[in-house]
Each structure stands twice: as C-alpha cells, then as structure tokens.
C-alpha cells in the first residue's frame, strides 16, 4: 500500500513540472508569434520595396513603427531554460543561446538599434525603403545565422 502522504507528496512535486512544461510551451509559442509579427511588418516594407505593394507612406511608417515597438519588448526573456531545439521538437532555438546569453541579447539590441529612426527613414518615397530594409534584415540574419537552427 502506498501511503496517502506519499501520493500527496508526489502530486505536489509533479505539479510544478507540469506548470513548467506549460510555461515552456507558452514561451515558445509566444516567441514564434513575436517573430511572426516582425515578419509581417518586414513583409510590408519588403513588398513595397520590390513594388509588389504600392508604396504608401503612412503604411510604411506604421510598419516601421510596429517594428520599433516590438523591439522595445524584452524578447530574449522568452528564451527560458529548457526550450532549446534539443529540448523540444517545435523549437528552432539553438542551445548556443543559453551558452552565450550576453551575445544573444546583444544581437537583439542590434535589431533595436537598427530599427531606431526607421519610421522617419521610410518616408519620402519607395527608394528610401531599400537601405532601411538592408539594415533591419541584416540584424535578423545575423541573429538567425548564429542562434536559429537551420540544418
């Protein structure tokens, strides 16, 4: 017979793990959503730069302002322990993130800095989009190269 106390203890011990598992899933979903929001706004700018979407100054400014707003969010905090690509199949976050937390954070700050001033920089015509996109896209690429699994 297993004493009731032991069951209660086991349950009490299991609860935080369950909660942690849910937290981990939430964190991964949240950062996927975060990246997708970045992507949607980048897509707006890229579409206009390529001429697939007609250039619209207000829309371009808004997309850039959205990116600025997103980079104010503390996204690196969504990369909680135990959510690397080795821990969860749905994660593409390389373990390198947790090995170099400072550099990972710096890569995110680099995006924030690339975004600074972009709502104004995209004004004035389609031709102004290119340089802004290169700066922003370069910051996405640098971080993905080092910290996103793609092999």
């Amino acid at each position: 017979m297993i004493p009731v106390k032991a069951i209660a203890l086991a349950a009490a011990l299991a609860l935080p793990t369950l909660a942690a598992a849910q937290d981990a899933k939430d964190a991964v979903e949240a950062r996927h959503g975060f990246m997708k929001m970045l992507g949607i706004n980048m897509g707006q700018l890229a579409g206009m730069a390529k001429g697939e979407i007609a250039y619209d100054e207000a829309a371009a400014t808004l997309a850039a302002a959205n990116i600025v707003a997103l980079t104010q969010y503390d996204a690196p905090a969504l990369f909680v322990e135990g959510t690397s690509s080795e821990d969860m199949p749905e994660s593409e976050a390389l373990p390198a993130i947790w090995e170099n937390p400072d550099d990972f954070r710096a890569s995110f700050v680099a995006l924030r800095e690339a975004a600074a001033g972009s709502p104004d920089a995209v004004k004035g015509g389609q031709g102004n989009l290119g340089p802004v996109l290169q700066k922003l896209g370069g910051a996405c690429k640098n971080c993905h190269d080092d910290y996103r699994k793609d092999d």
Binding site: G39, L133, G137, G138, C140, K141, H144
Partner: protein
C-alpha cells in the same frame, strides 16, 4: 591490360577547360560568400546564377560535346569501376584518355550536388526579408524552409566532395606520379589506348 606506348593527345577541349576553371572560381567564391560574406547576399545570388549557366552548358556539352566530354562515354558500369579501382591503387600512371570510370563517379556527384545546391538556393527563405530566393514565394513556407535546410547541408556536401577531388588529384600526383592538372589547363595529356 595491354595497349601501345603512351603518347600525348589533346583530350580536353577549350570549352570544357574554361567551364572547369570558371566553375571552380565561382563555387569557391560563392561558398565563401555564403559562410563569411556580407549580410547583403546580392553577389551570392548573381554568382549562383553564373553557376546555373555553367551547369546548363555542361549538361548540353555532355550530350553534344567532343567524345571525352560525353556522359555516355565516361560513365561506366560497376564492372569497369571496380576493375579501374583495382588498377588505381598501384603507384604508376594509368594514362587514361579522359575521365576514368572512378573519376566519372566524382564528376557526376559534383555536378549533381551543385545542381541540388542552386535549386535549393532558388527556393530558400532565411526569414530576413532581404536574401529571399527568387522562387521562394512560389512555394509554401515549409518548403522554402526545407530548401534552406538542404542548401546549408549541400554546402557541407560540396566541401566534402571538393576536398576529396583535391585529395585524389594529389594522390595521382604524389603516389601515381601522374599530373592531371596540367591537362585540365592546356588540354594535352599522356594517354595510352587499350
């Protein structure tokens, strides 16, 4: 294995030689651009298109070019491959008039992997909105993600094949005392008909 004495013969035509050295330069440059190039990959794309043009040329040349360039002539069955591989380990030149049956495997592997590399490149999407493969928008995002994955793995495969290519050429030079590089430059090679 008999045959007369070795004599010099022009086995690689000029177009094939230009093809080879242009391919070597473009592939090395593009590999390095991919790994350590600037985050604006425009040049990588253009050199990649150059490689596509070269591969198309090589495919056509493999059917209509001179004898030594033709796939049907140098791609041989397993018997010929095994028999050549046995001969190949001996420390003397083979004076083979063209790609040997073993070399043919490397040629096909290199051209095949390069074809795969340019194809996956066209469909790859690294989610940075600046270096998106020109055909990525024609497929689903899962497919373009998979293309990127295979483009990255392809880069490793190319590295392995090219290092093997160089190692075997060195093996011929040092162990077998046969210079394969010179013929790829001026077209003339010591050969023995058999």
């Amino acid at each position: 294995m008999a045959g007369g004495a070795a004599h010099r013969e022009r086995i690689w035509d000029p177009a094939l030689r230009v093809f080879h050295w242009t391919l070597a330069v473009l592939v090395i440059a593009n590999w390095l651009l991919g790994k350590i190039g600037p985050s604006d990959m425009t040049l990588h794309f253009w050199l990649g298109y150059g490689v596509i043009a070269l591969l198309v040329f090589r495919l056509v040349w493999g059917f209509v070019g001179p004898a030594t360039a033709r796939f049907t002539r140098f791609v041989r069955g397993p018997r010929a491959v095994v028999s050549y591989a046995r001969e190949m380990i001996h420390p003397h030149p083979t004076y083979w008039p063209g790609h040997s049956p073993v070399g043919a495997l490397a040629v096909v592997a290199m051209l095949g992997v390069l074809a795969l590399q340019v194809t996956t490149g066209l469909f790859a999407d690294p989610d940075d909105y600046i270096n998106v493969g020109p055909l990525a928008s024609t497929v689903s995002s899962e497919t373009s993600r998979m293309a990127l994955r295979w483009h990255n793995r392809g880069a490793d495969l190319i590295l392995i094949l090219v290092l093997l290519h160089w190692a075997v050429i060195l093996f011929y030079r040092l162990w077998k005392r046969e210079d394969l590089v010179r013929p790829m430059i001026d077209g003339w090679k010591w050969v023995r008909r058999r």
